[in-house]
Symmetry: none
Subunit: 215 residues, 4 copies
DNA sequence: CATGAATGAGAGTTCATTCAT
DNA sequence: AATGAATGAACTCTCATTCAT
């Protein structure tokens, strides 16, 4: 009845650890995150982290699992409402963009992991990356089969999409700072909305896939 | 004479430290790299690192400075031989690609830095990043002025370029592993040469900038 | 009736804790044994250990009490069937040997305890040790009085007996390994049966106590 | 010149660590000894222990190596002055006794290690034990060959010797306490000198090896 | 009687950094 | 310029023990 009181609620405690871990791992990185700090952040005793997750790496795995499943679910859900390859591609990119923007830890963690080929989590990253990229790749392949898309290099296009979107999200503070201090005239897109950027990326990719495509 | 030799030794030692630091920082990240390990790697005493660089952060700054200047120099040099915006853009992308491929620490470090908005190196990264992006942006702007390029969002295009190229480089081991183990048919571009990819990226960007562009 | 079942369960649980504790304490030592591991070993919740025994030390005391009583009971029982000092001494040694061999935790724990003068368990060990040694000493004294034994140093003889028997038991794996790997010819008694050793020790002690004793 | 000042003297620091380690390991055991306490005890920073010895186990190894070599050296030195098996055996036992008494950490550590078959240091213990026992065994074998000793079980005799001597040393405080409090008449040899005990053990062993031996 | 959640203290170990030579 | 010795703080992780149910 008084279930909502956090104390002695295993699920809530575990959740609170994961949430704090997401925050810290995404800002300070794996090695840069300390379990002491994490414990303080989530308001639980440090030992509880090891009670629920066998060790630091185990927690990191759980965190990555969590967020990669989230984005995967978000995208598949949205995509399912259409069968057109073109619409699905558009949905993929836009959903990824808005999700990344509202869950900025995803780009931070993903870029960090991908920047050293999954040094911490090779197996895990590998599987999750494949799953998400598989989705993207399938859309392109189907479009190709149906004659609406040109032949392409899916891996490169995928990296153009998630590379740009992730970087746009993670560099936001940097770009805003740049805009203020800048003596040189340099448009760092500091005021751009994620929707505009997703749209721009989408139309760029479609330009590549569909010759004579009108934006 | 003795002095000169000492000075040469000093320069050599400093150089050796930076080189080892590049290697370690790019593979293990900032927090993941220990000064002990670094000292072992470069064959010098640990105290020498602090003799030449005030502290770990100072060394990291020197490392970033170094590699960002390198890539900047490489690109400006190549670009200077032409005045056509189109050729310059092509040169920018391809030079970046080949440089990233032959100096794979660049993508690793850059992505790591950009993935947390330069938490370690705000000021430094900021300036160097701006310089490189400034180069890219200038080309686009000039092309636009000359009527050969359409209006665009330079920041996004820049991220599409360096995002994809960097990811292609850093994920190479991952993608090759994926190619071997994979049960599903999934083209991870595991055998692609960087030249092909740079070409593909270039033509994609030109498709965006120049409507009706023939690849 | 419900009560009785509960009580039986309680007894059974307590017993199961003690048994697991004997196993772990004797192999890993007092400090080396963790309550977590112990709980896992005995299949009960960790808190139950503290429910039945006030703390780790309390459990250790109970364990020692238990096994010292066991060996004491085993010996007194066997001894009672004879009144001859010589036969009783023989029975003491042989019973100790076979018991130690079939309950190898006894030597392990006893040697550990005696090796730091009962730092963990002064009072407890003290009393139990005295009881067992008292038995041995009584036999010698009576034999002396009856003129069948020479005057001796009971404490030293006692240590010669239990020292050798305990060591033979605890070093068994070590000695067997030695036998296999050994390049040098060295008889480590790796195949000896405890009966033979007990016999040998017995006859040695009798040789000391009874001059001109024929083995 | 001011070499004797402890600071910045590696050899002295290492020595001080080993000495403190001997003290703590022998009283509290391996698992029971904490590196914090050890650092406090030897007056050095905790990190220095890991600077000189790679880890706790490494330090323990060094400690065991040290003391086992000491006793081995002490015995071989004394033994070398005679060629008679009988005298050598006597010297072995007495030297072991006096050494054990003046370096009481030896019995404590040896019994602890032997009581779980070298759980911490199997390989090391194995070699050192073999060396020392080899010495003992050789004497017996030679005596046998020369016709002065009867056939025997060297391993058992060895354990009777070191078992009793070690226990006499480690139980000294216990036995003295027993003597004071005791209501029962029980001779715990609380006032015995190690020489008397060594003599007694020696003559007992000789009684076993030499029938009709007069003490 | 029994459990899982929670804790504070301390474990071993590594860290970046400085000092003395 | 260069080294090895030294340090204190921080690290990940485990401990014995208790609380709430």
């Amino acid at each position: 009845m008084t279930k909502k009181i956090q104390k002695r609620d295993a699920e809530a405690s575990k959740r609170s650890i994961v949430l704090s871990a997401i925050k810290l791992f995404s800002t300070r990185g794996y090695a840069g995150t300390s379990m002491d700090e994490l414990a303080k952040e989530c308001g639980l005793n440090k030992a509880m982290i090891f009670y629920y997750f066998k060790n630091k790496k185990g927690l990191y795995e759980a965190v990555m699992e969590e967020i990669l499943q989230e984005i995967y679910k978000a995208i598949t859900q949205k995509i399912s409402s259409s069968t057109s390859a073109e619409v699905q591609l558009e949905t993929f990119i836009k959903t990824y963009g808005t999700f990344a923007c509202s869950h900025p830890y995803l780009p931070a963690l993903l870029l960090k992991e991908l920047s050293d080929s999954g040094a911490v989590l090779p197996q895990q990253l590998f599987k999750s990356m494949r799953k998400l990229f598989g989705l993207f790749s399938d859309i392109l392949r189907r479009g190709e089969k149906e004659g609406v898309f040109k032949k392409s290099m899916p891996m490169v296009l995928y990296f153009m999409v998630i590379g740009s979107l992730n970087l746009i999200v993670t560099t936001k503070p940097l770009r805003q700072k740049a805009a203020k201090l800048d003596d040189i005239e340099l448009d760092t897109c500091s005021e751009c909305e994620i929707e505009d950027i997703s749209n721009y990326v989408t139309s760029n990719i479609l330009l590549v896939l569909k010759p004579f495509y009108k934006e």
